[in-house]
Structure formats: structure tokens, C-alpha cells
């Protein structure tokens, strides 16, 4: 079994190298783990609660005080400032002391009593979108709640209960599949695989690129009886095993914070998807190194390609209506395919048949990038002019 021997010798050689190089070991072990932990810690608060807002109450009426009480009762908000004027409140917003301003103009209560309808204003910070929109949503709910109450009492008293009816159509917003609207679950579900696939890609560029840079590619392949494919696979295996382990741990963490158990077959599909994703990025790393024959350039390419995955995946921002470049680029990322699979299996409990397509896409990346990368890397390994480039 010369292939197996070649594979094992290459894997052993890589492990020896890692143990002798603390910084390469760090980039494949504790640094990615530390980054995952930092992110898990950052979002451990779950939902944003008690976001500070300011109230500018120029009406100073029973109604306006009722509204302030309603806002204070909202768990998502904290009325931390009572400003005397709108400009004072906006200064607080620029300082980031508050994320939204509720402005109750003078005469609001009188307008309600006279004509049946008054207006209040909600100014929210759209530059800090998550916080600003969360505050705006809660302000909206608080105002709606008070509006219903007012309609029932004051307007009813003036015009008589017979005149009363609710708005003819209500639209209820709900979400499928992530009912708690947990940002922690949502964001970590994107960030964990984003960190891991990038770290895997960077580590693999290092591993493949190093042999060309240091002109050690011949001795390495000789040790592996000049069997290129087993040697490449053997080199990749330590990283593949490590990152798959981190991937499984991060999946378990996602299941844990969601609080509901997960079926074994769903978990198995996700682990398979993670494994394929790491294989795909290893194959792409091989391709980058083989194409550029220069470790630093390959690292730059990997950074551009895998470092911007989250922006282009369409998971944070829809790609409908995006220019063709953006949509095509998104499809060219294994991360996009993996996120589709993760959404289906982790959130929606889809059938296996639905998930075959993203799995096949991942496999296609592995095969295409792997074959082309291996052929080109093989050429570079025989061409001394490709060695030692910095």
C-alpha cells in the first residue's frame, strides 16, 4: 500500500512540523478557538434589551405621560433621558448615549380629543442599524398599544361606542423557523463558520505555500514516494481533523443556545456539510498557492476571497436586485452553499432531498478546485523556478 504509506508519512511530517512551530500550531489551534469563544461571549446577552432612548415631551399631558409609561414598560427599551428639546435629544443621539428619540409635540392630546388623531415622532439611529431598528420596532409596538387603548376610551367617549371600529386590516409579522428572533443564534450561526473556513483556508495556504517558499517541496514529496495526491491529502488531514472538531463544537454550541434538541440525521448532514466546506477551502488554498506560486500573494487572494464571504453570502443582506457580479461571486463561495445547508438542517428541519443540492455544490468545489490545484501544484513542485519566491 504505497499510497497509504505516502499519506501517513506526509501527515506525520506535517504534525511534526506543527509541533515544532508554535505559531503555525497557534494559527491552527488556539487562535481560531479563542476567536470563536470571544464571539460566543460577545453575543451571550441574546436579545438587545433596555436600549437607551430619549423622550422629548412637549405636550406634558396625561396622554404623553401614558406614552412614556408604555415605553418604559417595554423590555427592549429604557427611557434614559428626558430632553427639553429635540435638538438636545439629537445631540444625545450623536453622542450615542441613546439610539432613538420619541418626540411628542405640544398639542398632541388636544388633537386627539378634537379630531380623533394625534401624531408622535420616532427618530431612530439608522447608522447603528441593529440597535436603531430594534428600538424603533419597540417604540412602534408601544405606540400601537397606547393607540388601541386611546381609541377604546377617549374617542369612544366623545363619539359614542357605535362609531368605533378598528383599522380594517392588520398585518401580523412573524418569522418562520427562528421564533425567538434570537440575534445570538442568527449571528453566531453565520460567524462561527465564517471564522472557521477562513482560518482553515489561511492555514492551508500556509501549509502548501511554505513548501514552495522554503524550497522543501522535493524532500517532502520524496519522503512520500513521489505520490502527489496522497502527500497532499496527508498534509491536509491534521488541519481537516482539527477544524472539523471545531466545527462540530460550534454546531453543538448553536444547538445549546437554541435550547431545543436536534435530530441525529440533521446533525450528521451538518457535520458532513462542514467537512465538505473545509475540504473545499483546502482545495481552493491549494489552487491559490499553485496559481500564484507565492505564499504572500496566495494569502492575499485567500483573504480577499474567504475574508469577505459573510458580506457576499447574502445571509446578512439579500442579493435580489444585486448586480450580476455580486450574485455570481456569491455562488462561487462554498460558504454560501454551506449556509444554505445549515439554514435547512439547523433551523427548518428540511428533508434530505432539499439539502442534496447544497451538498452537491460543496462536493463540486472540492473536486474542481482540488483537481486543478493538484495538477498545477504538481507542476510547481517540479519547477525550481517556482520555489523560494517571497
Amino acid at each position: 500500500m504505497p499510497s497509504l504509506q505516502a499519506f501517513l508519512s506526509s501527515a506525520r511530517r506535517e504534525c511534526r512540523y506543527l509541533l515544532g512551530s508554535p505559531s503555525d500550531l497557534a494559527l491552527a489551534t488556539w487562535i481560531p478557538c479563542l476567536l470563536l469563544l470571544l464571539m460566543a461571549w460577545l453575543f451571550s446577552g441574546g436579545l438587545p434589551r433596555e436600549l437607551p432612548i430619549a423622550v422629548v415631551d412637549l405636550d406634558r399631558s396625561t396622554t404623553s405621560r401614558q406614552l412614556v409609561r408604555q415605553l418604559e414598560a417595554s423590555p427592549g427599551l429604557k427611557v434614559s433621558e428626558q430632553a427639553r428639546s429635540l435638538s438636545q435629544a439629537l445631540a444625545l443621539a450623536r453622542e450615542l448615549k441613546i439610539y432613538a428619540v420619541v418626540h411628542i409635540p405640544a398639542g398632541t392630546e388636544a388633537a386627539i380629543q378634537r379630531g380623533g388623531s394625534g401624531s408622535v415622532f420616532s427618530y431612530y439611529n439608522a447608522s447603528y442599524q441593529v440597535a436603531g431598528q430594534a428600538a424603533a420596532r419597540d417604540i412602534d409596538s408601544a405606540v400601537q398599544a397606547l393607540a388601541i387603548e386611546l381609541t377604546a376610551t377617549e374617542v369612544g367617549m366623545i363619539r359614542g361606542p357605535g362609531a368605533l371600529r378598528a383599522a380594517p386590516v392588520a398585518v401580523q409579522l412573524s418569522v418562520l423557523f427562528n421564533p425567538s428572533r434570537s440575534y445570538e443564534h442568527f449571528l453566531l450561526g453565520l460567524i462561527f463558520p465564517a471564522i472557521l473556513h477562513l482560518a482553515m483556508c489561511v492555514a492551508m495556504v500556509g501549509a502548501f505555500g511554505r513548501e514552495l517558499r522554503d524550497a522543501t517541496v522535493r524532500p517532502w514529496l520524496r519522503e512520500a514516494h513521489d505520490r502527489l495526491l496522497p502527500a497532499l491529502l496527508g498534509k491536509m488531514t491534521p488541519y481537516f481533523v482539527l477544524f472539523s472538531l471545531y466545527g462540530v463544537a460550534s454546531l453543538l454550541w448553536l444547538v445549546l443556545i437554541r435550547g431545543t434538541a436536534m435530530a441525529a440525521d440533521e446533525m450528521a448532514l451538518l457535520v458532513l456539510g462542514q467537512a465538505l466546506m473545509y475540504l473545499a477551502y483546502a482545495a481552493l488554498a491549494l489552487l491559490f498557492v499553485a496559481l500564484t506560486r507565492n505564499m504572500v500573494t496566495a494569502l492575499s487572494v485567500a483573504g480577499l476571497y474567504a475574508g469577505t464571504s459573510m458580506a457576499f453570502s447574502g445571509a446578512t443582506f439579500p442579493l435580489q436586485g444585486a448586480p450580476w457580479f455580486t450574485r455570481v461571486w456569491s455562488e462561487l463561495l462554498p460558504y454560501t452553499a454551506y449556509l444554505k445547508l445549515q439554514g435547512q438542517q439547523l433551523e427548518m428541519g428540511s428533508a434530505l432531498t432539499v439539502s442534496l443540492w447544497p451538498l452537491a455544490t460543496l462536493l463540486l468545489f472540492v473536486l474542481l478546485a482540488g483537481v486543478v490545484g493538484a495538477v498545477l501544484y504538481g507542476r510547481a513542485s517540479r519547477d525550481p523556478s517556482a520555489w523560494g519566491l517571497r
Partner: protein, 377 residues
């Protein structure tokens, strides 16, 4: 002064003759400045693709469907018979939302009760669901009311809601997603390219000379050369790129220049200190590539600081990007006055002093007394 200017020009020469340093400090900045905003070129989340589940089959529900096709906020891909079918379409990613018109929709409206519609978004895409669904819901509500009103006027007088809420976004008034993210990312790109560029130059020097001993004036010369390049990148983003992408900008120009200079100063001190630990040119690339994403989230631009653990917020303040990103967004986009970013300014000034002092210590240490330790190779 002589050693300062000599070192300054020598550093610039080194950068411009080192392909990698040049590609990082200039090439990467320009490449990312076009590439990154491309992900958000269309800016506002429009056209939520949805299917309709019509359980009412009434003239009113059909009228509503017809009107929906005219809405800009949604893109109706069809009508399906059941929620189960709609759910499968969501699972396959073909649609992102489902509008359910329940049975008795028309009857309820004609009976002067409230007709309820339910809009289901895909919760696995939370920020997308949030952004596009609110717009879609508002549009559907308006159209549905109009449709219902015109057909239900005989049913009696309609009292409007007693209290109306008028929402106004501040600062990023077009509600662009790119304009909320990219300015923060831009400051991070400036920081990371400076860090890599400086680390590459320092590591090369170390590879060739084996040690990093630099006199104080020479160190200042190196720092000034990098600060100048960093300032160019920062102004290129804050001026040209944000103008080209038509992001909100120029809120407080003087403040931006001042805070920008302080940000670059803190980044250069940070880079001088950390760059001294790298012994090979490639190492900085590897480390900074994988830490960029966490650094961005640690800046709390996309996640409210109030919802973050307090210790972590303090730790994040040790990174120049944390005050830098916030100060840049507040001054350039939100038009904050200098006093309104005093926290960030103090943070950056302290980091400049802290890392500057550490860097001076590091580069002055005698080789024969202490061999320079370098945990990163």
C-alpha cells in the same frame, strides 16, 4: 532631525520597492474599496420575494393579490394552495416570505371586524427578515386598507387610529445597508493594511539584519512614513469612496481630520509594537486575515454595546479599530461635534501613548542583554 528625515525617506523607499508592502498598503486599499461595497451596491433591501397562500378565495383576497403585484417592496412569485407548500419553497430558498390570507378575510372586513393578514419571514435570515419585512408589511397594510376601504365603505364609518407614529431614520436617512456597514469596514481596512504593511517591512528588516534596533528619531521617521500612507488611505475612503458610493458623509470635516489623525497615530503605534513580534513576512498576513471579522464585531457598530459583556467591551477598547470605527462613523456620517466623540478621542490618545511607549521599549532593547523574544516565530 537628520536621522528622522533620513529614516522617513528610507522607509518610503523600502515600501515602494517591496512589492508585497506596496500591494498591501496601496493595492489592497483600492481593491477592497471597490470590491467590498459591491456586496451592498443595491443598498436598500427591496423586493422581498414572497408567495401568497390564499385561504379565502374571495373577491377581496383576489383584489389584494392583484394590488400586491404593483408593490415595489415585494415581488410576488405566485400563489400556492397551502402553508405546507409555501414552507417548502422557503426551505429551498426560492422565496423569503409568505403572505397568508386566512379564510374569512373578506367576511371579517364586511362585518366591521378586523381582517387579519399574516406575513411570515424566514427567521434564519434575521437581519434580512427585519429589513425587508417591515417595508413589505407597511406597504401591504396600506394597500390592504385601501382595498378594504373601497369595498367596505358601506359598512360604516372608520375611525383612524387615535395615535399615529411617524418614523424618521436619522443620519443614514436612505436606510442603506452598505452605508451602515462599509464606513466601519473602511476604518478596519485602513488599520489592517497598515498593520500588515508595517509588519512586513519590520519582518523583512529582521530577516536581513536579525534584530530590530532603531534609534528614537529613526523610529519616529518610520512611524511618520506609515502614518502618512495611512492618512491617505483614510481620506481616500472618507472622501472619494463614500462620495463614489453616495454614502452619507462630510458631517464634520474638521472633526474627521482631527480624529482621523489620532486614529492613524494609534494604529501606527499599535502596528510598531505588534509588528516587532513577527519574524517572517507571511505571519502577519495569516494572523490579521483571520482576526478582521471578530475585530469588526468587537467594535460594536453592528451589535449594541449595551448588549455586550462589560469586560469584553473594555478589552475591545485595546484595539484602535474600536474607537476608530465609532469615531469615523459618528463624525463623518452622523455629523457629531468633537465633544460628542470625546470618549473615542481619549481612547485613541491613550492607545497611542500606551503602544508608542511599548514600541519604543521594544526597539531600544539591547540585543546582547536580552535576546529579542518573538513568540510569533
Amino acid at each position: 532631525m537628520n536621522r528622522f528625515s533620513e529614516s522617513f525617506s528610507q522607509t518610503l523607499k523600502t515600501i515602494f520597492s517591496d512589492r508585497v508592502a506596496l500591494v498591501t498598503l496601496v493595492g489592497a486599499v483600492i481593491l477592497y474599496s471597490f470590491f467590498y461595497p459591491a456586496a451592498y451596491r443595491h443598498q436598500v433591501a427591496g423586493q422581498l420575494p414572497l408567495v401568497v397562500v390564499d385561504q379565502d378565495h374571495s373577491p377581496m383576497s383576489r383584489e389584494l393579490q392583484r394590488k400586491l403585484t404593483a408593490l415595489r417592496a415585494v415581488h410576488v412569485l405566485g400563489v400556492v394552495g397551502s402553508m405546507e407548500q409555501a414552507r417548502q419553497l422557503v426551505e429551498r430558498g426560492e422565496v423569503e416570505a409568505v403572505l397568508l390570507i386566512p379564510a374569512n378575510f373578506q367576511r371579517d372586513i364586511l362585518r366591521v371586524e378586523q381582517g387579519g393578514l399574516a406575513l411570515f419571514g424566514n427567521g434564519t435570515l434575521l437581519s434580512r427578515a427585519g429589513l425587508s419585512m417591515q417595508g413589505a408589511a407597511q406597504a401591504i397594510r396600506a394597500f390592504a386598507q385601501e382595498a378594504a376601504l373601497s369595498q367596505a365603505q358601506f359598512a360604516g364609518l372608520t375611525a383612524g387610529p387615535a395615535l399615529q407614529l411617524i418614523e424618521r431614520p436619522l443620519f443614514n436617512t436612505a436606510l442603506g445597508y452598505g452605508s451602515a456597514i462599509v464606513p466601519g469596514v473602511a476604518a478596519l481596512i485602513v488599520q489592517q493594511t497598515l498593520l500588515v504593511g508595517l509588519a512586513v517591512v519590520a519582518a523583512t528588516r529582521r530577516e536581513r539584519q536579525g534584530k530590530l534596533q532603531v534609534s528614537l528619531p529613526a523610529l519616529c521617521g518610520i512611524a511618520s512614513a506609515f502614518a502618512m500612507i495611512g492618512m491617505f488611505s483614510l481620506l481616500y475612503f472618507s472622501g472619494f469612496v463614500f462620495w463614489f458610493q453616495d454614502y452619507p458623509r462630510g458631517g464634520n470635516l474638521i472633526g474627521l481630520l482631527l480624529a482621523g489623525a489620532l486614529f492613524i497615530a494609534s494604529v501606527v503605534s499599535f502596528a510598531l509594537f505588534f509588528g516587532s513580534f513577527f519574524r517572517t513576512r507571511e505571519r502577519a498576513f495569516q494572523l490579521l486575515t483571520i482576526t478582521s471579522l471578530p475585530m469588526f464585531f468587537l467594535s460594536n457598530l453592528s451589535w449594541p454595546v449595551e448588549a455586550s459583556p462589560e469586560y469584553l467591551v473594555r478589552i475591545a477598547q485595546l484595539l484602535p479599530s474600536t474607537p476608530g470605527i465609532n469615531a469615523m462613523v459618528k463624525l463623518n456620517q452622523m455629523g457629531a461635534r468633537l465633544a460628542e466623540v470625546s470618549g473615542e478621542l481619549t481612547n485613541m490618545a491613550l492607545l497611542t501613548v500606551l503602544y508608542g511607549a511599548l514600541a519604543i521599549r521594544r526597539y531600544r532593547r539591547r540585543e546582547d542583554q536580552f535576546s529579542q523574544r518573538s513568540p510569533l516565530d
